[in-house]
């Protein structure tokens, strides 16, 4: 029984004090080289893909608004551009940036991810994300959002609307990716036509939040449909993922929870791939390392995902146990970079290979290929 492995890259790792570790390089976070080294390490480990976190506001410990803290990593690159910067430096690993659907234009997101797919030769994905923060909305000044306080609820009308908008955005993006059929470019000398315009399609999306006419300005990309992924913790985002994503990242804290979540997701979609997110600290001294970072930060690490501390061998056992509960792959969030990333790419992958559960070489050129997803024909192509 094999499994898929991805890592989630962000800052100096997922512990807020990780940048203070001896092996951390916080001075290089705003350089291309820093990220190039991380993604090269992930590719050496033959991982399926890396995700890159993003948001249109500064990181904060508060639900809504900056916290003024200077002792944690603050600042991030635009994730799509960072992924594109890494594409020519890698050749097999998938690149999955986050891009918000709340304040962006679906048209721009569609051509950005399609372009990432072109420059990477078919290794692009996308993690659509909503933002409910009023302080982030104030960066755009178009829509006033209510201030989020302690009573934030996913069933709130405001949040429901943002998910509905995100679902429309994914639909628009997917239609735009299909709006050029694969063989639209003909270069026909006899008639002087560069394209067969019958193979370019208006998408004519009209919804509650926006209307988009199409077609895309960007020809269909190598994967046709780059891989769409979504993080989800509850029914509403499960529905969002089932409606538009290829992969959902869920956050069980036990094998029983994993089984229950997989069952719930399966009721919504038979095709959606279910990955589990885990924050991981690896090594013989993992628990002590995490405890030391907690002390440095002045608080115990909290996370939506389960936090694992232990050896790569122990983690491999856990992943295989959850695998039997229906989890098909994992997005591991390294507690500290590059330390826990290297423990994944060198230690964990070796443990999994020893159990026949992970690849020994890349078996495909595209991300869809690595994930066993077929390349779909354009929805607009007529079946002849």
């Amino acid at each position: 029984m094999t499994l898929h492995l991805a890592v989630a890259l962000d800052g100096a790792g997922w512990h807020p004090a990780a940048w203070r570790e001896a092996s951390a390089r916080p001075e290089a976070i705003f350089s291309a080289r820093y990220w190039a080294e991380l993604v090269a390490e992930a590719e050496r480990g033959l991982l399926d893909f890396v995700t890159i976190e993003d948001s249109l506001s500064l990181q904060s410990t508060l639900l809504d608004g900056p916290d003024g803290r200077a002792d944690q990593v603050r600042g991030r690159f635009d994730a799509v551009l960072l992924a594109a910067r890494l594409a020519p430096l890698t050749s097999r690993i998938g690149l999955v940036p986050t891009a918000t659907t709340t304040h962006t234009e679906p048209f721009h997101v569609a051509i950005g991810i399609a372009t990432l797919d072109h420059v990477s030769g078919g290794r692009a994905g996308w993690r659509p994300q909503i933002s409910a923060r009023s302080t982030e909305a104030a960066h755009f000044g178009r829509r006033p959002f209510p201030r989020l306080d302690g009573s934030f609820s996913i069933d709130d009308e405001h949040v429901r609307a943002l998910f509905a908008e995100a679902a429309d955005a994914v639909e628009v993006v997917r239609r735009l990716w299909d709006s050029w059929e694969d063989d639209a470019e003909i270069r026909d000398l006899a008639t002087g036509r560069f394209i067969d315009r019958d193979k370019l399609h208006y998408i004519d999306f009209a919804g509650r939040f926006f209307s988009v006419r199409g077609p895309s300005i960007t020809p269909r990309s190598p994967q046709g449909q780059p891989v769409v992924t979504a993080l989800a913790h509850a029914r509403l985002p499960y529905e969002f993922a089932a409606g538009g994503a290829d992969i959902v990242y869920v956050t069980p804290h036990s094998a029983d929870q994993a089984r229950a979540i997989v069952e719930e997701v399966r009721q919504l979609s038979a095709e959606l791939r279910v990955f589990a997110d885990l924050v991981v600290f690896l090594g013989d001294d993992a628990a002590e390392r995490k405890a030391r970072l907690d002390r440095l930060d002045g608080a115990e690490l909290r996370s939506d995902a389960a936090i694992f501390t232990g050896t790569p061998e122990e983690l491999a056992e856990l992943l295989l146990t959850w695998r039997r509960a229906g989890i098909e792959g994992y997005r591991l969030r390294p507690g500290a970079l590059p330390y826990d990333l290297e423990a994944i790419t060198r230690g964990l992958t070796a443990e999994l290979r020893g159990r026949g559960a992970f690849r020994r070489s890349y078996e495909a050129m595209t991300l869809r290929g690595l994930l066993g997803l077929p390349r779909p024909a354009s929805r607009y192509a007529e079946v002849s």
Partner: protein, 439 residues
């Protein structure tokens, strides 16, 4: 008086008929290898920057997608970010529309590109008011023509505020003092203007150039004034010596009003070229390229845009038919319109009659001819003369072939410009601002 230094940029061939695809050497307009080839060629030639245009809706003629020219482009900044990985010194300039973007997001993307390229990012600011393009976006075509430059000016001003909002040295990464950033070094931007209301903190430290280079391409009085107030480079259409000198003098004279020196705004007209071993051969090559650029169907499409009616019944290799233009409505969407179509039609008819031209010959005659035609030595001399005569500070070269259209220029003309002492033998700086000698 010191000799002016020439600045050169390479324009990735676009989606006009000037890009020849019906040539066996024509490669992909979308594969990354094409962008990488042209960018590496430009860097081998020590060019200042690489330039990408943009169009956010596919062009239409007679209500249908125009199919005779190259179609299909990437998202500009995404390709430029990838190119930053395969080049080291070349500036990376992208055209991005200020109408269909928001300052916080775009300023952040440009800052990201500047960081990821170690200081090589440039933004060609364009605006559009047409509802046709707006149909692809949330807000539609909401902008009045008159507001285009006020929006662009406010957009750039606000972007610069965001770029400046982290103090220099704000990113400390000091492990021993537990200060990733210097406390209180991240400022809050409060902006309330006619076009934008933005409040909050930016997500990136000041980038290597501080401010990515701003390019402006509009030619109207408002466009020139906006450039004089705001831009670092003007991408102009005035490639001839006389036009270029008039434009150059006009724009440079506007700078004092904004307390700027003449060399703080570089004027770089678009330029095309055709080379040959002899003057005769160059002229023949130029004519051959123009015949490729204006095929029979393209010739018909051109006169249809002016006449406003279906002209497909007329042989493009025959005479212009005796029909009047239909001025009721335009047939073309998504490109710059032909102003007064009645006047243009009358002028074209007179020219065709005077020179006994067929439809195709007429279109070849009236649409852009190459800026520079000659031997490599002749073209090098012409370029240098234009710059020394204050018709330009340099040129944005537009090859007619993707991706190899710049190869010959870099191999044969650049060394001669270097021999003349008019163009750098190697890069002396690392950032685009340094290449352009901008402070």
């Amino acid at each position: 008086m010191t000799r002016k230094r020439i600045h050169l940029a390479a324009h990735f061939p676009g989606v006009n008929n000037t890009t020849v695809w019906a040539d066996p050497r024509s490669g992909s307009q979308i594969d990354f290898a094409s962008f990488a080839h042209l960018a590496r060629t430009a860097e081998r030639g020590k060019f200042d920057f690489f330039f990408l245009a943009e169009g956010l809706r596919l062009r239409e003629l007679k209500g249908r997608i125009h199919d005779l020219d190259v179609v299909g482009r990437p998202e500009a900044l995404t390709v430029l970010s990838a190119l930053a990985a395969v080049t080291e010194r070349l500036g990376l300039a992208g055209t991005v529309n200020a109408t269909f973007n928001e300052p916080y997001e775009l300023a952040r993307r440009l800052s990201t590109l500047d960081h990821l390229s170690d200081g090589r990012a440039a933004w060609n600011v364009v605006t559009t008011s047409d509802a046709f393009t707006g149909e692809n976006f949330r807000r539609g075509g909401y902008l009045d023509r008159a507001d285009r430059y006020t929006r662009a000016a406010e957009f750039v001003r606000l972007s610069r505020e965001l770029w400046d909002s982290w103090q220099p040295g704000a990113h400390l990464a000091d492990k021993s003092r537990a200060q990733f950033v210097r406390p209180a070094a991240i400022g809050t931007v409060h902006h309330e203007g006619p076009h934008f209301a933005v409040e909050g903190e930016f997500t990136l430290p000041r980038s290597p150039q501080g401010h990515p280079v701003i390019i402006q391409a509009g030619d109207s009085d408002e466009g020139r004034e906006f450039a004089a107030a705001t831009a670092d480079v003007i991408f102009s259409r005035h490639g001839t010596l006389e036009d270029g000198r008039a434009f150059y003098a006009d724009v440079k004279s506007r700078l004092a009003r904004y307390h700027r020196e003449p060399d703080q705004l570089k004027i770089m007209p678009a330029a095309t070229y055709a080379l040959g071993d002899t003057e005769e051969e160059a002229a023949e090559n130029a004519a051959a390229i123009r015949r490729q650029q204006v095929g029979p169907q393209t010739a018909t499409a051109f006169i249809e845009q002016v006449w406003g009616r279906d002209m497909s019944a007329y042989d493009p290799d025959g005479p212009l038919p005796d029909v009047e233009p239909d001025l009721s409505e335009g047939v073309s969407q998504g490109r710059v319109p032909f102003g007064d179509r009645a006047a243009v039609a009358a002028k074209w008819r007179a020219l065709a009659e005077e020179k006994k031209l067929t439809i195709r010959e007429l279109v070849i005659e009236v649409t852009g001819r190459q800026t520079f035609v000659g031997t490599p030595a002749g073209v090098a001399r012409q370029i240098d003369e234009h710059v020394q005569a204050d018709a330009a500070d340099g040129f944005i070269l537009v090859p007619h072939l993707t991706p190899g259209g710049l190869d010959e220029f870099v191999d044969r003309v650049v060394p001669l410009l270097q021999e003349r002492g008019a163009f750098r033998a190697d890069y002396t700086g690392t950032t685009l601002r340094e290449h352009l000698e901008l402070s």
